[in-house]
Symmetry: C2
Subunit: 214 residues, 2 copies
DNA sequence: GATTTACTGTGACTTCAATCACACAAGGAA
DNA sequence: TTCCTTGTGTGATTGAAGTCACAGTAAATC
C-alpha cells in the first residue's frame, strides 16, 4: 500500500482545499505514474484517457509545428493540472501539443470517467478545473502577445525571466541552441542577442549555462 | 413581456440541449442586451459581472498590444459564449482582450452569481462551459501556430479562408488596411501579397471588397 | 461637376532575423 | 596526450517584412 500512502500525501500537500470526500475519491482512483527527465507525458495525436495532476517535478508544454519544430508555451508545476489533458479527456479528442518532463516527474492520473461526478459533486474540484483553464488561457494569451507584438530580443528577455522564475535559479542550465529551439529561432541569432545582453550586464555567459543577473 | 419571449426563443433555438429547468432559469435571469456594429462588448481592463452568450450577430475578439495595436484572434457566433467573460467573471479579474460587435449583435447576459448553481445542478450547462473553453483554447492554439510557424503570405491565406468560412460569403467586405491591422502587419505588405494571390487566380481585388475564389 | 477623402498600387530603402561558412574553445573519450 | 563531439563567436549574405514616398483612382460630399 506504499503507493496509496504516497498519493494521499501528495494530495494533502498539493490540494489542501479539496473536501475530504473528494480527496478520498482521488486517493482511491488515482494512479501515480513516474516519468523520467525527457520523457513524454502527452504527444501530438495521442488520445487521453486520464487527466494528469502534476505531483512532483516539472513539465514543459510545447506546440508542435508542421515540420516537427517545437515552440515552448509554458511550464506545469506540482499542483497544476494539464488543461489539455482535461479538455481532450472530456471530448476524447487528440491534442496538438506535447508535454515533456524536464525533471523526473510524478503525475497523478485520474480516469476521465470520474470527471462528471467530481464536477457535479465537489465544488472545490470544479473551481480547480476552472482555475486551471483560466490560468492556462491567460498564459497562452501572453504567448500570443509575445510572438505577435514583440521582437526577438524582447522575447529572449521574457524567456530568460520566465526560466529564472519557474526554475527558481539564477544559473540557467541551457544552451543557446535549446533556447533557439524553444523560441523557434536560430542558434546564431540567440548567441548574438545574448552577447549584447552580456555587454549590458544583464547576464554572464558560460558554456552550457547562463547566469541571469536581473 | 416582449423581452422574455425573445429570450425564450433564442434559448430554444440556440441551446436545445439544455434541460427545461436550466432554460427556465436562464429565461428568468438573463437580460438581453443589444450592441451596435462597432460597439465593444468587453474592453481591456474591464471588470465583468456577467457571462455573455451571443444570441444574434457576430463578435470579433482581439488581443490588444501595448501600443494600442490590435491582433485578431477569433469570431464568436450565435450560440457561442465568451470564454473570457466566464473566466473573468468567475475570478472577478480583468481581461486583456477586446470583444467588438462587427454586426448588430444581441448578447444574453447571465449574472455570474448564477454560475455556481448552474455548474452544480445542470450537467448540460457544465458540458457547455467545458466545450466553450475547449474550443477557444484550440482556436488560440491555432493562432499561436500561425504566428509562430507561418510566414505572412500563409497567414494571409489562412485569414481570408477564415473570413470566408465565418462570414459565409465569397465577397469579403474589407480593406487592405483592416486586414493589415488584424494581422498586425502593414497595409503595403498586405496589398502586395494580395496582388500576388490575384495573379495566381485565388482572389479578385476590388475597392473595399475582395472576392475569395478558393 | 468639383473637391475631398479613403483606398489601392508600386518603387526604393531599411531593418531584423535566418542562413551560410568558418574559426575556435571546452570537455569527454580513446 | 590526442582526437572528437558539442557548444560558442562572428563576419558575410540573403530574404522577408516594415517604412517612406508618392501616384493614381473610386466614391462620397459639397
Amino acid at each position: 500500500m506504499k503507493n496509496e500512502v504516497n498519493i494521499s500525501e501528495y494530495i494533502q500537500v498539493l490540494f489542501p482545499q479539496f473536501e475530504p470526500a473528494l480527496k478520498q475519491i482521488l486517493i482511491e482512483n488515482g494512479v501515480l505514474k513516474s516519468f523520467e527527465a525527457g520523457e513524454m507525458l502527452m504527444q501530438t495525436g495521442q488520445n487521453m484517457r486520464s487527466t494528469i495532476l502534476i505531483a512532483e517535478g516539472l513539465v514543459k508544454l510545447y506546440r508542435e509545428g508542421d515540420e516537427g519544430n517545437e515552440f515552448f508555451m509554458y511550464y506545469l508545476h506540482p499542483g497544476n493540472a494539464c488543461a489539455l489533458s482535461m479538455i481532450c479527456a472530456t471530448k476524447q479528442e487528440t491534442s496538438q501539443v506535447m508535454a515533456k518532463a524536464v525533471e523526473p516527474t510524478k503525475g497523478l492520473m485520474i480516469p476521465i470517467s470520474l470527471m462528471d461526478t467530481l464536477m457535479k459533486e465537489y465544488k472545490t474540484w470544479y473551481y480547480f478545473v476552472l482555475e486551471t483553464y483560466r490560468s492556462r488561457f491567460e498564459e497562452l494569451l501572453t504567448v500570443v502577445d509575445n510572438i505577435a507584438f514583440k521582437s526577438m530580443d524582447e522575447r529572449l528577455e521574457f524567456y530568460l525571466k520566465k526560466q529564472h522564475r519557474d526554475l527558481k535559479s539564477r544559473s540557467l542550465t541551457i544552451t543557446h541552441g535549446e533556447i533557439a529551439n524553444d523560441l523557434n529561432s536560430s542558434r546564431e541569432v540567440i548567441s548574438r542577442l545574448l552577447k549584447k545582453m552580456e555587454q549590458r550586464g544583464e547576464v554572464i555567459l558560460h558554456r552550457n549555462y547562463i547566469e541571469y543577473l536581473k
